[in-house]
Each structure stands twice: as C-alpha cells, then as structure tokens.
Symmetry: C2
Subunit: 263 residues, 2 copies
Amino acid sequence: MPSQPRPAGSAQSRPRPPRSTPRPPRAADHGGSSLAALAALLADPTRAAFCDALLDGRAWTSGELARYARVAPSTASEHLSRLIAGGLLAEERQGRHRYVRLATPAVATLLEDLTAFAESGGTGTRPPRTLAEAGRLSAEARARTCYDHLAGRLGVAVADALLNRGLIAEDTGLAVTERGRAWLAAQAIELPPRTGRRGGRPVVRNCLDWTERRNHVGGALGEALCRTALDRAWVERIGSGRALRVTPDGGRALHELLGVDVP
Amino acid sequence: MPSQPRPAGSAQSRPRPPRSTPRPPRAADHGGSSLAALAALLADPTRAAFCDALLDGRAWTSGELARYARVAPSTASEHLSRLIAGGLLAEERQGRHRYVRLATPAVATLLEDLTAFAESGGTGTRPPRTLAEAGRLSAEARARTCYDHLAGRLGVAVADALLNRGLIAEDTGLAVTERGRAWLAAQAIELPPRTGRRGGRPVVRNCLDWTERRNHVGGALGEALCRTALDRAWVERIGSGRALRVTPDGGRALHELLGVDVP
DNA sequence: GGCACAGTTCGGCGGGGGCCGAAACGAGCC
DNA sequence: GGCTCGTTTCGGCCCCCGCCGAACTGTGCC
C-alpha cells in the first residue's frame, strides 16, 4: 500500500491548463500536419503496394493494380483517387482504362528514400519471409530497375566501376568528372537538358540499395545509363516486374566499356 | 499474366461461402509493406508534430512534446515508444526525464524531404492558415535551422553566395570546388571526417525550402556552416523554436566573407 | 442494338488505433 | 519517511478508414 494515490481534488491549485476544448480543436496543428497527410497516403499496405509496383516507372491500369494487391476493383479505385488527389500519382484515361503512374521523378525519389530507410534503417537485416519472396528476390537482387535507373548487384557494380575509373567522384560531393563527361560523349550517352540547375533534378544521386546495402547511381545520370542500356538491348525486362536480364551483347558491352563482369 | 494464385475478386459466380478467406491472407505483402509501416509512424498528426518539433536538432522531454502537441502525457508516452521502436527517435533517460531526439541525420533528411514534398508538391502554394502561424512564419522565414543547417531566406542567400562565388558548383553534380575547399580552410571551417565515402553522409546536399521554394545547402557542408555560425555567434536562436536571429557581428561577417546582406 | 468488361459510387460492416483518466512507478528533494 | 512530479501502464471509448458486394456508368466490340 504505497503512497496515497494523489488526493483527487487537492493536489495543487494548478489552473488546469487549457483542458477546455473537449473535442474541437484537437490537433495543435503546430507543424507537420501536412507531413501527416502525406504519410497517411503511404501508411496503408494496399496503397504502399501500389506505389511499390509503380516504382518500375511504367503505367499500370487500375485493374492490374487491384489484382497485384489482391483487393477488389472498387477498393483499388478509391485508393487511386486518393493517391492522385495527394499528388503522388498522375492518371491518363484511355478509353475505358485508367492508367496511372508516379506523378514525377521526385515521387520516385521519395519512395526510394523511404523504402531504403524502412528496409535498412529499422532493425538491420531482414531476410525474405516467404518462399515466393525469396525467389523473386534472387532475380531482382541480380539486376532490376529502381524507377528509372539500375539497381541490384548490377547497379552497384556499375556504380563501383564509374567510381574506380574516375568517371564520377565523390571526394567533395558526388559529381561527374571531366573524364566522365568525355566518356559519356564517346559513348553517345547524353544527359537530359535542364538538369543540375537550382531546383532541377540532380545529375548524380546516391540511392541506397536494399538488397546490397550499397549505393548505386540515380539522378539524371542513372536515368541516362538505364535508358541507354534498355535502348541498346544490353538489358531487357523479365516479365512484368522490375527484374532485368543482361543480354549476351550487354555482357560484352559492360565488360568492354566499364570492366563490369556480370555474375 | 498467368494464373492468379487466388482469384480474389474475379469471377462473379461466386457460390457465396461465408466469405472465403474470412480475413487471413489479406495483404498480398508483395512489396511496400515495410514502407507502409514506416509511413504509418508519420501518418498521425501528433507524431508528425513531435517530429516537426524535433527537427530543431535538439532533445526534448516527453512532457515538453506533450504540451507542444496538446495531448495528455500518457498519449505522448505511447507515441514516443512507437517512434523509438520504429528507429526514428533515440532516447536518453536522465533521472525522471526521458529525452528524445531524432535518431540519426538520415531521419532528419527523410523528414525534410517529406515535408518539402508535402508543402510544395501537393497543391502548390499554401498560405499560412492562422494568424499565429503567419507570425511564426515571418520569423522563421527570415532565418531558421533545418535540423542542423541554415534555411529560410538566410539559408537560400548563403547557398546563392556559395554558388556565385564558385565555392560550390553544380554543373555536373553538387560538389565543393577547389576554391571552395581553400575558402573553407581559410575560414578554419572544417568538414567532419568520414563524409563523402560510399554510404556516408553526402558533403553537399540540396534541401528544398518550403518558404522560399528554393534550394539551400544541407549535408555535411550545411552542418559545418551552421555550427560555425552558431559557435562564432553570427546567429543565435530565438526562443525554443527553430527561428534564428542574425547578430550584428554575424551581419558583418556574412557581408565580408560571402557578400550576403541580411535583409 | 446488345453484350462484355473496366471502372466508379454507395451503403454497410468490422477492426485498428488514438485519446483520455485513473492508478502505479520511481527519481529527486525536503 | 513523506511529498512532488515526470513518466508509464491499463482499461475503455469512439471514430476513422479500409474492405467488400451490388448496382451503375461508360466504352469498345459484335
């Protein structure tokens, strides 16, 4: 029977701080309320699964996403409307189809950052949980796209090669070197215009890989490299997911140009 | 699209067994479920307000955060436990106080990215909603900290000055130039060790400003500049928020060193 | 026109979770 | 020891929201 439990009324004569406001202005709305609204969009497993699927950079229909996430079409429709209203997705109607894709590369960056933190920052390693997941992982772990750039072991290997050959440098910040610019020109790989200016898309961007726990190259450079690899058939997509396969031609090209030997 | 393992909501001639799969394998758990778990932590207005407060880079007690967000101490305690379990916050107990702070700079970066997107990416401009908010904004709009670097008009002005003087460059990626390195050495401003290496903190980082809609300088360089400014009393904190005041000495120093005239 | 199919709207259901107050715990202080 | 006060745990309330099926709209195809 320890201490007397707080003589109810007595206590001190504290004027009972704004205890009023029984229910109305709940949220102090100090700051971060718009953060909460954005996070709420991603806090639902189904909506998160949609975003994950759309991280392949392509446009999906409402029905495809519904089947992917195993929910009724009506449910998917409502989720998509919310994601679009929140500015995360953009839609394009064609006939009786509703195609959706990530609204901007900035959304993809945001999702990648969040995913990378969630996968690695939380508790450290997280092995695959189901057999199907393990199988899918092994394919995606080798090579995959990460919205519009290369990831997986291939992405990391390319990033390492670029660094080791002095085509990009990170001593004082991540940037394309003079040699790198010449190399890009020699390969006829060109960066999209209007990048690097204040507010524009960064040219080189570290993107933490959730399988390799290493950085690969994103940004405009990552996009240009991935686009080139697909255009020149160095890699091709496997099925409808994000996994990639390196073609024989691609293996040769990567070896000759960057010294990358695909495992 | 080959066979759907479990045709959840497809055919319409379902025999109506008491709702097969009453509730079991709801989530496809394809991908993004860990993303959802992370986002759920930030999806609550109260937890978001906590994070917003902690973005000043300092440690707050549980009670302080409860009063800030206008919730009962018990509620705050539960929220903090969840945020800590999720790896977003770190705690330090001192006597009967529980101090919490953002777990790592990476968390701050994540929060800043999300906030910037939420404030500007959503619908474009968003004027202050309340009178108190407007007043607070005017102070913070001039100069404030953004976790560990400078933001607001001051932050943007410093970033512009660094660019215009060729101390940093972004032609091929954001990086400190040779001149910039010399300038930093001349001012006896030193970057923390172990930055810039793969996986480490980036040296220079664009951070979109939600008041100016312009980029300011984050990363290790932003942290070093902000620390220097506080150490040498060029700026000082106003009250307990994130707002800063430029001291007379600071005004002179900023003008001489960078040509920045504080408005 | 009629059918098939993609998507949407609506009503209703059920569970999760945020909130609070009451009580317990424990550190500091006299 | 006894008190204060910051924090935590627990029980209970209630609202929010994700889910579905059914009905509806509108497109494309015969």
